[in-house]
Structure formats: C-alpha cells, structure tokens
C-alpha cells in the first residue's frame, strides 16, 4: 500500500484562536477515496479530526470540502488521482464550526428563499399530471442537485458578498421555473431579479467546475438571466 501525505486545516473553537495545518501520513490502496484517507486518520491516528460524511459515494452531499484548492466531495475523488500531497480545507465563505465542518444554515436559507417546491394551485387530476419527455428534459439537469454547497462556496461573487443568493439556489429555482407543471415562475424570477439575485453572477464558471453532479450550473444561470431579459419561458 502506498503512503499518502495529507495536510489538513484544523480549527477547534474550544482552544484555537485561529486555524492551522497538520500533516499526516496514511497508507491507502490506490482505489481508496480521499474520504477513506480521512477515516483512516480519524480512526487510527487522531480521533479529534472532524468532518461530515454519510453515503460515501457521492449522492448525499455531506462531505464537500476544498481538496487541493478545488471544491470536491471527499468520497468521489480517488487518492491515486492526487499525486503528491493532499491538502484539505473547509469550504470557503461560511463560518467554520470545527476543522472541516462549516455552518450551512446560511446556505439553506438562500435555498429556501427561492421557494424550492412545486407551486400549482389548480386541482390535480385523478392520475398523474402529464408531462412530455421533452418538457421533462428542460429541467432535468437541476434535479440532480444534492445541496452540497460546493458551487456556492467556489463562487468569487459570493465570497465578495454573502448576500448573493448563489448558484445552488439559482439552479434549484431553474429546476421549478422550467417545469411545465409549475406556476410559481414569477415569484421566483422576482427573487432572482434583484441586486443579490442572478445579476451578481459574473459567469466565472467556478460553480460548474465544482459541481460533483456535473450540472451545467452556469448555463442554468444564463437561462434565468435570458428569461428575465426577454420575458419568455
């Protein structure tokens, strides 16, 4: 088993004034994930190392973190793809609670602000509401979102202004705005057509690069901007 060097940003509010880095050496299989490396360190070297994790295969969104300078899911990145040192830091832009755990409440608050649920006040039919495969395809990409916050915390305009609603909230608004069954587009477009809405996006593409679900986030944001400019769904 090869040995990997992990350099991890640590912060314990009970005793640290500011964060620092600690180095660890860990033996891993080449097929192991970065998360396996963190677990090895926590379980055999330092039980105080703190991070969130659950599904361990990229679908729950718990373990988004900054790995070698990019936001990734620790469970969806193999150590063999990181030659040399593995540097791990918490996502940028939120308060660090401890080590790699950040306060996600502001993230979910932005998510809730765009009314992330189907709005349709007409009485539903006895069977399903019909939707053609083409209409279904229009919003498919956004349905993949796992709310891991990797996109929002990689976004320079968000770093500069924490009031910016952020890419994740826009993607989830897009998911409903372009759903043929939904009637709440005006409400959501109203939220997004503000100073801290879509117009703060500078098309940096960091969000698209960061998304572990390969959602074309920048494209979704552009769709919303175009809809606001031309007033057509």
């Amino acid at each position: 088993m090869p040995t990997y060097s992990f350099k991890i940003q640590r912060f314990n509010p009970d005793k640290d004034k500011r964060s620092h880095y600690e180095d660890y050496q860990v033996d891993l299989e080449t097929t192991d994930r970065v998360l396996d490396g963190l677990n090895e360190i926590k379980w055999r070297q330092d039980g105080t190392l703190t991070y969130r994790r659950s599904c361990a295969h990229g679908v729950c969104g718990s373990d988004a973190m900054r790995i070698n300078g990019r936001n990734r899911l620790a469970c969806k990145l193999l150590v063999k793809d990181l030659p040399g040192q593995v540097t791990i830091e918490p996502m940028l832009g939120f308060t660090v609670i401890k080590d790699l755990v950040v306060d996600l409440e502001p993230f979910f608050e932005k998510y809730r602000s765009i009314a992330p649920y189907l709005i349709n006040d007409s009485a539903p039919p006895e069977t399903e509401r019909l939707q053609s495969p083409e209409d279904r395809a229009r919003y498919d990409d956004g349905t993949k979102c796992i709310l891991c916050a990797a996109c929002t915390t990689s976004c320079p305009p968000f770093w500069a202004n924490k009031e910016f609603v952020g890419p994740a909230a826009i993607v989830n608004a897009h998911r409903f705005i372009f759903d043929s069954r939904d009637q709440g587009a005006d409400e959501r477009l109203g939220v997004l057509n503000t100073r801290n809405g879509v117009w703060r996006c500078r098309t940096v593409f960091n969000c698209t690069d960061a998304c572990p679900r390969d959602i074309e986030i920048t494209r979704a944001i552009e769709d919303v901007k175009r809809t606001l400019l031309f007033g057509r769904l």
Binding site: S54, V59, N120, R129, L130, P133
Partner: protein, 577 residues
C-alpha cells in the same frame, strides 16, 4: 445542562418515511423532525432503480400481482394484510408524489415511465412486468428532494444534527418523548411529546461490505430495544447481488432491469441454470446465493471472489439516460467504461428486513398478542410491518417508506389530537446523560475503530450470504467479547463542539447490539428462508419455522420468542422462478 422541548409529536429521521409522516401530521399540530444529518442527506437519497406500483402505464398490471410477488419474494414470511395495504395504496401514493412535483421519467404520452425489476411479474409469476416507476436511476434522490421541498413549503420544524439516544416511556407504558444529543455543542435535549415516530433506517454498517451510508448504524432500532421493545425477524438481512467489488457501493438492479446480465469465469450466463424464467431478474436472495455458489465452485473470475456484470450490449444511450449515476460510479470508482468493460461485482449487505414490530398503521406492537405501545410509531427500514418477510423485493423499500410513512403520519396525527401530553418519567435525561458522560469522561483504553472493524469482519465472514451453526456460534461469542471490550472503550476527543468521535462511538454501541441480535436470530432459526440461508439447514421448514421471530435485548443476552405470520390470499408453496 439539559434542554427541554415540548411538541405534539416528534419524528426521528428525515428520510422518506419521516418526511412523509411529517407532511401528514405537521399541519395538524406542533411537530418536530429530528435528524442526525441534514434532511436532504438521508439514505433514501441513495435508492436508485425505482418504486413499484401497479399503475399499468406500460402494460397490464394489478395490485394483486404486486402483492403476490411481494409475498412470494418474501418467502411467505410476509404479513399479507400489510402487503395488501401496501400494494393497493402504492398506486395513489405514487400519484400523490407526482402531484407534489416528483420529476418521474416519462412515457412518450407523458405518463410516469415504468420498467422491469427483480421478482416483479405479471399474472402471478408468468413473466417479468414493467412496474417500477423511476426517475432515471435517482428515484430515491428525487423522492427525498421532493419530500424535503414539501417540508419547507409546509413549514415543518427541523432539528438538524440531533442524534436520538433514548426513548422515553413512563410508568403507564406510554411513549412520551425522546432524548437527543445536539452534535453542535454536545448538549442533551429532552423532547417531551404525545407521540414519537421513528423512521431511522437500517444498520448495514455492521457488515464489512455494505451499500449503506456510514450513518446507518441501527440507532433507531436499538434505542427502543434497550427500553424492552422486542425486534422482529432480525436474522433476515438482504445481501444485494451487485455491489461494486471491494467497495460495496450499489449497482442498481435497474442495470439488469434494462438488460444487464451476470457472467461467470467462462463467460456463461449462469442465472439461466438457476432461474430459467426470471434469470438475472430473480429476487436478490436467490441471485446472491447463486453468485456465492459459482464462486465456491471455482467459477468466480480468475477463481476469485467475484463475477462480472455485463452491460456492454446496452449501448451508450441506455447507459447515459436510464442508468447515468451507476454508469458514473463505475467510471469513478473502478475506472471502467461499462460500454466496453465487464464490471467486477459481488454481494453487498443492503437492507434489514427486520426491525421494530408494527402493524400497517405504523403502530408499534410489543408482543405476540397485538399489544401496542401508546404513542409510539415506526415505519421504513427500522420497522418490520412485515411486508418484506424473509427477503425484500427491489423497489419495495421505497414503496414501504412512502405508504407506511403516510399511513403512520395520519394515524399519529389522529392520536396526538385525541390525547393529552403524558407525564414524563422522573429524570428523563438520566440514561442518555450517563451514556454520554461515560464516554466523555471515561478512563478506558480500547480503540473504537479496532472493535468496529473486528465486528464488521466477523459479521461478513460468519453472518453473510451463507451461514452455518458453527460459524454463527463463533460470531455470537466474538460479539460478546467485543461488547466486553466496548465497556472499556476510550474516545480521543473530549471536547464539546461537534464531537464526531463521541457520535461514532455511541453508534458503535448501537451496532454491537444489532450484530448480537442478528446473530442470535440467525443461530436460532434452523431453516433456510429468503435472505437467511443455513448450510446446515438448507430447506425451508414451514412446519416449525413459518413464524416471525421476536428478539429481546436483555443484559444476560438475547431472549427469543415468536409470533404468527398473517396469511390471507396466498398459501405458502415452493418458491421457483
């Protein structure tokens, strides 16, 4: 310091069952949802292939056929009154989910698309049927997201990252709340409530190879078991045939539903020999055992302990549109391209059929006389209704959570409107506080990680797809000595902020109890049925064993009892596919 909260009802677990129950009850009272994770992180989101309901959108189908498949799939240990309720109500519940906005894949006419799935047949076993409603291979993700979205719309109150470690029962035997640890600051919180609903999921992490999330450590089944509530049919665990080799990550049965096949070392499609009608789409217990048999007889790939899943003939369009996520898993975790490469796969611990005994209104049942615990409800993987019997059919876990989460939520809402807040027992926080303090301030020396990996290896070696009396006895005594070591366990993190060392070590305690109960049940049941296969008792024995097991967790060990199976429409017969 202890914090007190008062609610009409407290729901523990924010997966499909818990959220469904929350939507039914939160408009009618002051309801809180507690989750060890953030709500959208629950393991419902990992379910891939689909959710069955006899909508008949693709071809003729009937809920009676679905019920028959469920009963036969469960090797006749299914309570048929509950299976009938589930298969009937699956239809309206799926429609309700669609109305909530769930983005199902669609037929050309715009209806919910359906596909084949293991063990689901037309006309009582005649041929596979397209019954599984799906949203690509992200069906569970879509259910979880949709229910969470509805939770926001309906202003459900969430307590995120609260780990429940005790159930409160007063001297009148009424359930009156839970005690939880707030992970953020390690404070103890007492939730005083008229009703409690558990939808806490399973415990696959007791095995070395599992498809389950790290969070699935059986907290929710052991918390009531430590309060004297028996657990039902714990020996029945499902080993899913197609886990990614070594990692255990699930490759959905949808891969075979779309046409994938299993091959042995000589390239033979071996399932044709074992199950001539359903072949690779036979139920999971059967396919997993056949894979073990092939491996045992030296026909694993290169003589090793895995076989191949062949998806090469499906073509890129099917891979990318029908099963995109699992295609991605194979690329990311194995570096393989399913359009070109064969996929190494072996069984992975996937699903607990057993759990907290309930009836089909999700009311918890305490014995073989249908005695209820007032105010306590459970649904989903942590519960045992039992609609899965000895082996769960693919997709029926999702059917289970939405149907019984919904029914249980309604029943609980009724209960909380008709009842007053019951009195709490004295010092309700004491048991939980002691559990936490013992770890935080203990002076032990044993490593939790070492105990955990030994337990997982033991369960994988002796209590997996193929079991026998001798191995189970070794497992039972091994677990007992691991529990003794656990009494002297030491954590390294003694801080108060987000102490996941403490959390994981509490979880280990729950897992050891789960492992003990599963092993005791497996040792007691001297027959083979569904997911429980005993090499030393290879036949199903309806004369002696057509009954549910009840296992009581007691200080001196596990005490076994039994209760009858409810049989209505379908008499037990030999299970051939």
């Amino acid at each position: 310091m202890t914090n007190f909260h008062r609610h009409d009802a407290v729901i523990v677990g924010a997966g499909g069952a818990g959220l469904m129950a929350a939507l039914q009850s939160s408009r009618l009272g002051n309801v809180a949802v507690l989750s060890k994770l953030y709500p959208a992180r629950s393991h419902t989101g990992a379910a891939q292939g689909g959710i069955c309901a006899a909508l008949g959108n693709m071809e003729e189908d009937h809920w009676e056929w679905h019920m028959y498949d469920t009963v036969k799939g469960g090797d006749y240990l299914v309570d048929q009154d509950a299976a009938e309720v589930m298969c009937r109500e699956a239809v309206e519940t799926i429609i309700e989910l669609e109305h909530m906005g769930l983005p199902f894949s669609r037929t050309p006419e715009g209806k919910i698309a359906q596909r084949r799935f293991g063990g689901h047949t037309k006309n009582y076993g005649a041929a596979p049927v397209m019954r599984s409603c799906y949203a690509a291979d992200r069906t569970g993700h879509m259910i979880l997201q949709t229910l969470y979205q509805q939770g926001i719309k309906n202003e459900v109150q969430f307590y995120n990252e609260y780990m429940v470690i005790d159930l409160l029962v007063n001297s009148d035997g009424q359930c009156c709340g839970v005690v939880a640890l707030n992970l953020l600051d390690t404070e103890i919180h007492v939730f005083h409530a008229k009703a409690v609903f558990f939808g806490t999921g399973g415990f696959g992490r007791i095995f070395k190879i599992t498809s389950n999330a790290l969070a699935l450590t059986g907290d929710g089944v052991i918390v009531p078991a430590r309060r004297g509530i028996p657990l039902e049919d714990m020996e029945f665990f499902q080993f899913h045939p197609t886990g990614i080799y070594r990692l255990g990550i699930l490759i959905s049965e949808a891969a075979r539903g779309e046409g994938g096949i299993l091959l042995n070392d000589s390239g033979e499609r071996f399932m044709e020999r074992y199950a001539p009608t359903l072949k690779d789409l036979a139920p999971r217990d059967i396919v997993s055992r056949c894979m073990f048999q092939e491996i045992k007889e030296g026909r694993g790939i290169g003589g090793k302990d895995y076989v191949h899943l062949d998806l090469r003939h499906l073509g890129r369009k099917v891979l990318d549109e029908k099963i995109p996520d699992i295609t991605d898993f194979m690329r990311v975790y194995q570096g393989l391209e399913p359009e070109r490469d064969l996929i190494p796969t072996h069984p992975t611990a996937h699903y607990a059929m057993g759990g907290i005994p309930t009836n089909y209104d999700a009311e918890v049942i305490l014995d073989d006389q249908d005695k209820r615990m007032p105010g306590f409800f459970a649904a989903g993987e942590c519960a045992c209704v039992s609609i899965h019997g000895a082996n769960r059919l693919g997709t029926n876990s999702l059917v289970d959570i939405v149907v019984f989460g919904r029914r249980g939520g309604k029943k609980m809402a009724e209960y909380m409107r008709q009842n007053e807040l019951p009195p709490l027992p004295p010092r309700p926080e004491a048991f939980a506080q002691e559990l936490v303090d013992r770890l935080l301030h203990g002076s032990g020396t044993e490593s939790p990680a070492a105990i955990r990996s030994e337990m997982q290896a033991l369960m994988f070696n002796e209590v997996f797809v193929v079991r026998n009396g001798k191995g189970l006895q070794e497992a039972a005594s091994g677990i007992r000595s691991l529990k003794e070591r656990y009494a002297r366990v030491a954590i390294q993190d003694h801080g108060r902020t987000f102490n996941t060392d403490l959390m994981e070590t509490l979880e280990l305690g729950f897992m050891l109890d789960c492992a003990e109960l599963v092993t005791a049940g497996a040792l007691a049941r001297e027959e083979s049925r569904g997911g429980h296969y005993r090499k030393d008792f290879p036949q199903r024995d309806d004369v002696n064993w057509l009954k549910h097991a009840l296992a009581y967790l007691e200080p001196e060990g596990v005490r076994m009892a039994a209760k009858p199976v409810t049989i209505t429409r379908f008499q037990p017969k030999e299970r051939v596919y």
